[in-house]
């Protein structure tokens, strides 16, 4: 129906991901504003009771052709279901998977893509999206002439609860494994249980102030990891420390790394170059710990401590342990 919203809900290890349920929540709210319903689309064999998370209908596409992730395969299913449902908006999470195939799917449907959006609304009965550009130095409000295709930044939209039946409706997959152009052949596992900085609710980041982990900074980085562990946070890093080879590329936060919007961002020993500030100033709450009280990071921080990371970080971990009761 032309007021409906189609939401690709990402699954991992048989369950919907948090980002997937957030996208469904956003889709359900938008559908209500548009006067339609949210239709969840699941690819793979696993299903969940998505009627409890805002879906009015749940489409499931399974079988051999989608047993492994394929950018063109997933794109084709979403594009076909976008046409079949006639949805006014087609949504997915802006995760590594969603960012990859949604661009292809949108182009397949002869549509553009509003990527990494942080707000969705209905304006005169048409969906509109807001997306940060220049790593958050500006916000674009966009709309599409036809259906609005958008990916949604994790941790920005809320999950919703609902009480819909939404029984699984199997949809036919129109192609076989031999028709696919690219399929994952192998997954090379990263560190088990390691949270991605772009998806984490809390991020603890380290900068040059922590010093070289192969030398005098060794204890500082261990302290940073302990603080992250205490908070259930992902670890992030400034560009300077990534370029120095102190931390992996995947942890870099900023305009040339990842743009993040966690509920809590703790910057340790980061002075706050404009590129870094752009990448994290969309965080809900920012804490900065830096020895230089004039560091630019304090201009965006909600709460700051002026002090040496050597002293403040372990003391903070200990204080949190006591306050959080574990």
């Amino acid at each position: 129906m032309p007021n409906d919203v189609l939401v690709f809900v990402e699954f991992a290890d048989g369950s919907p991901t948090k980002a997937g349920l957030q996208a469904l929540g956003a889709g359900s709210k938008l559908a209500t504003e548009l006067g339609g319903q949210a239709i969840a689309l699941v690819i793979g064999s696993a299903t969940a009771e998505l009627g409890k998370h805002g879906a009015s209908r749940m489409l499931v596409a399974g079988g051999d052709a989608v047993a492994s992730y394929s950018p063109d395969g997933f794109a084709r299913i979403v594009s076909e279901q976008a046409a079949a449902t006639g949805a006014a908006a087609v949504l997915a999470s802006a995760t590594p998977m969603g960012k990859d195939f949604m661009a292809r799917a949108a182009a397949m449907s002869k549509c553009g893509l509003a990527a990494d959006c942080t707000e969705l609304k209905s304006e005169g009965g048409k969906p509109r999206a807001v997306r940060p550009v220049y790593a958050g130095k500006a916000l674009q409000t966009v709309e599409a002439p036809g259906p609005l295709w958008a990916t949604l930044r994790p941790n920005v939209f809320a999950e919703v609860s609902s009480d819909n039946a939404a029984a699984a409706e199997t949809v036919a997959v129109s192609f076989g494994p031999g028709d696919l152009k690219a399929v994952v052949k192998e997954i090379l596992a990263g560190v088990k249980g390691k949270l991605d900085v772009a998806e984490a609710e809390i991020v603890v980041s380290g900068g040059r102030g922590l010093k070289d982990p192969a030398g005098e900074g060794k204890q500082n980085w261990e302290n940073l990891e302990k603080l992250a562990e205490q908070l259930g946070a992902a670890t992030g890093a400034s560009r300077a420390v990534v370029d120095a080879g102190w931390r992996p590329h995947g942890e870099q936060v900023g305009q040339t790394g990842k743009t993040v919007s966690p509920k809590l961002y703790v910057a340790c020993g980061i002075s706050g170059a404009i590129q870094h500030l752009a990448g994290m100033s969309g965080s809900k709450v920012i804490v900065a710990i830096n020895k230089d009280e004039n560091a630019p990071i304090f201009k965006v921080a909600d709460f700051g401590i002026v002090g040496m990371v050597e002293d403040v970080v372990p003391a903070l971990t200990a204080a949190l342990k006591e306050a959080m009761g574990s």
Binding site: D72, M97, A182, P248, H249, Q252, A273, D302, V306, A319
Partner: protein
Amino acid sequence: MDIIVCIRRAPTTDARIKPGADGKTYDPAGVNFDISEYDKFAIEAGIALKEKHSGQVTIVSVGPSAATKELRTAIAMGCDAAHLLVSDAQHDSYALAQVLAGKIKELPHDIVLFGWASVDGQSASTGQMVAEMLGLPSVSVAVALEVVDGKASVDRVAAHGNRERYEINLPAVVTCTKGLNKPRSANMKGIMAAKKTAVPETPANAPADGVAVVKMDPPPPRAEGKIVGKGAEAVGALVKALREEAKVI
């Protein structure tokens, strides 16, 4: 090997971006430009493939005439030729992809490389869209790339620090990120060669944007923060603030 690298002229990452008079695009006053950061990894990947398999690296870009400067920088790094499709407008990724795909169709191509995202629009979508328009396989956000016997083996960054490995037939589109290589600097010989290389400019004739910008706003200002204290003795005050004021822990 015929290698195409699509690059973009973008504001440098230290630029202060303010909405312009039209309220839809940024004010270019005082903004400096450079090759968009991640495109440099694509250029390096292209040159490395040429060095290993022989062939030629051709740059294709959509942008204003002034972008010939960035295209010449790419030639100075070691690319062989460059085409600029001239447009002064700030197109969305769908319009850009159509212009690029139209040009790439005219050129021999075994592999088409992109930066995984631009530092300005940050859609991270133009490469995949071009692949779709050309009917080619695509792998985005590559951190490893090898070409053997007409196939490419590509590792991409997936969720949770995992990597996904693909083996795809060429021609294909691969978008590149940090970690794939270390982009080289131009040497004097390259800079001299770039000066002598013609960079043909043709009008882009871009179609309408897939998503249209209604307006551009500065981000909402953050509320004034506070220093809760100095040194390790301030952590108690911080924990209290996070708990009772911010309610995030």
